[in-house]
């Protein structure tokens, strides 16, 4: 589903590459934690998968496509097969919960009838049924992140990328979000989650890929956050 081959990414403003000769393969339906300290290259890793960045060297394959050969007008199609969740939720403050989720469908040209059918379903899936008319600032952080997950998942993507989705949440709320991501994973969606949250990684016992200074220093199935943790 996702394959990085000897991927190097250097930014012109930095002497040290953000990613240095990274080779990782992630199969369909896997749940992978991407761990490492700040600046270790986790975010660059995720941005490469969306073709928001292009690698300086090596090849990135996502959903059977070589991103190097993917022409720019096909990038939107790639992104429709990938959902994204962020630490800061990125909801539109002037739209309701329903409208926020619907927005993701409207802007890819889905007709009203589909929107009206699919959005309530996904809101129920994330545990927000009945809150469609609320505004984001009326919701708790955990609920806002559920809206973001609903928006990322409403188009039923093959891959869900989460960049520290629990970074702004307290531990018990985080558990709720993790259960949600786990449930989405069980529908067959590949989930890649960058995180700092040792407790979550340790409790989930899923595959862990650790980055340090842009290199893969550990790739462990059913791993924990750090050695000796």
């Amino acid at each position: 589903m996702i394959r990085l081959e000897n991927v190097t990414k250097s930014y012109p403003t930095s002497t040290r590459p953000a990613l240095d000769d990274v080779t990782v393969e992630i199969d369909k339906g896997e749940f992978v934690f991407l761990v490492g300290s700040s600046g270790s290259g986790k975010s660059t890793f995720l941005r490469l998968l969306l073709k928001e960045e292009v690698p300086t060297g090596g090849h990135v394959h996502v959903a059977g496509k070589d991103l190097h050969k993917l022409s720019s007008w096909k990038v939107p199609a790639l992104r429709r097969s990938i959902g994204c969740v962020f630490q800061d939720f990125r909801l539109l403050p002037n739209k309701t919960v329903f409208q926020n989720v619907a927005f993701a469908l409207e802007v890819i040209g889905k007709p009203r009838s589909v929107v009206d059918k699919v959005v309530p379903e996904v809101l129920e899936l994330v545990g927000l049924d009945g809150k469609g008319k609320r505004m984001p600032d009326e919701l708790s952080g955990g609920e806002q992140q559920r809206v973001a997950v609903a928006r990322a998942f409403v188009n039923r993507p093959m891959i869900l990328l989460a960049d520290e989705p629990t970074g702004n949440l307290d531990p018990s709320t985080s558990v709720g979000i993790m259960k949600l991501l786990d449930r989405i994973n069980r529908t067959g969606t590949t989930v890649v989650m960058a995180t700092h949250d040792a407790a979550i990684v340790d409790s989930m016992r899923r595959r862990v890929v650790e980055l340090s200074d842009g290199r893969v220093v550990r790739d462990q199935s059913r791993g924990v956050y750090g050695y000796g943790a």
């Binding site: 994204c84 802007v107 009203r112």
Partner: protein, 302 residues
């Protein structure tokens, strides 16, 4: 593509950016009004050329007793010279018709022309006015051929082209046209910069939305179209105001003021104005569309 979605985005964008939108509309309107005025002045010159060039004549003034010109030799034109000049004029292929005006006829016309100033008429006698041949050319631009053939002939005092008098007036109009077009050009630059800035501000104020649109895989067209149409709409509204101004100039200034006061002069007609209007809208649309497009390529990349 859902038209309703795009339209509501345009509405939101224009309202959020109202002051900038008004600035764009005003600048585009001024620029296009001046551009239209330039075209209107050109149409006016053409209308006057069509009208006058049919009527202008070349005057070949013949020597009188008091003529000072070297070709006269201090004497009036002789009958033989007069006949030869007339014969040669009529023989020229460029010449359409030749009409002889005697001193008496010139005097009669002079009296008629200046009947409001009797003092002037009293002080002028028929002998003081030159007799002349009034020559109508096939093509009014071929004055030089007639002038070179007759200016140095004995008995000819002066060859005068009425067209030269009109040319002076046309020169003034052409300069006005040039000034209008230069100011229009400067305004176009201002309009392009303003539109580009407006689009940039709009893109910045909606960076949340566009960021999410990119993430969920909205196409470039879907992301950029509302901004592009916003620019084009502002350009078209500006063109609309410019068109209104031009119609007002035609109706109030030309038809209301100039035509009643100068009944002998031909003025631009409504067909000239109507021919200009589509160009205003096209220019306004292209101006706004292109500058929006270029700005979007720089600021809203996928």
């Amino acid at each position: 593509m859902r038209a309703q979605f795009v339209l509501s985005e345009i509405g939101i964008g224009l309202r959020r950016n109202l002051t900038m939108t008004i600035a764009v509309v005003v600048t585009v309107a001024i620029s296009l009004a001046l551009f239209g005025s330039g075209l209107l002045i050109r149409a006016q010159v053409e209308a006057m050329k069509d009208f006058w060039y049919d009527k202008v004549e070349v005057s070949v003034y013949l020597c009188g007793e008091s003529s000072q010109a070297a070709t006269c030799g201090g004497a009036a034109v002789t009958q033989q010279q007069r006949d030869e000049i007339q014969a040669d004029l009529e023989a020229m292929p460029e010449v359409d018709t030749v009409f002889y005006e005697s001193q008496e006829e010139a005097y009669a016309q002079f009296r008629e022309q200046f009947e409001d100033s009797p003092d002037l008429v009293e002080n002028v006698t028929a002998e003081a006015l030159p007799e002349s041949f009034r020559v109508k050319l096939q093509d009014p631009t071929q004055f030089a051929i007639v002038a070179s053939a007759f200016a140095q002939r004995p008995g000819v005092e002066e060859v005068q082209d009425q067209k030269a008098l009109l040319e002076g007036f046309f020169n003034v109009l052409n300069k006005l046209q040039l000034i209008a077009l230069i100011i229009a050009g400067v305004q176009v630059v201002a309009a392009v910069l303003l539109i580009s800035n407006t689009i940039r501000v709009a893109a910045f104020s909606r960076r949340r939305e566009t960021g999410i649109m990119r993430l969920v895989g909205a196409s470039n067209l879907y992301i950029q179209l509302p901004f592009l149409l916003e620019g084009v709409l502002a350009g078209l509204v500006g063109a609309g105001f410019a068109a209104g101004a031009l119609v007002a100039v035609k109706a109030v200034l030309v038809d209301g003021q100039l035509r009643p006061n100068f009944p002998v002069i031909a003025f631009v007609g409504w067909s000239d104005v109507l021919a200009i209007l589509p160009w205003l809208f096209l220019t306004g649309m292209l101006l706004a569309g292109l500058s929006s497009f270029v700005t979007l390529r720089r600021h809203l990349r996928v």
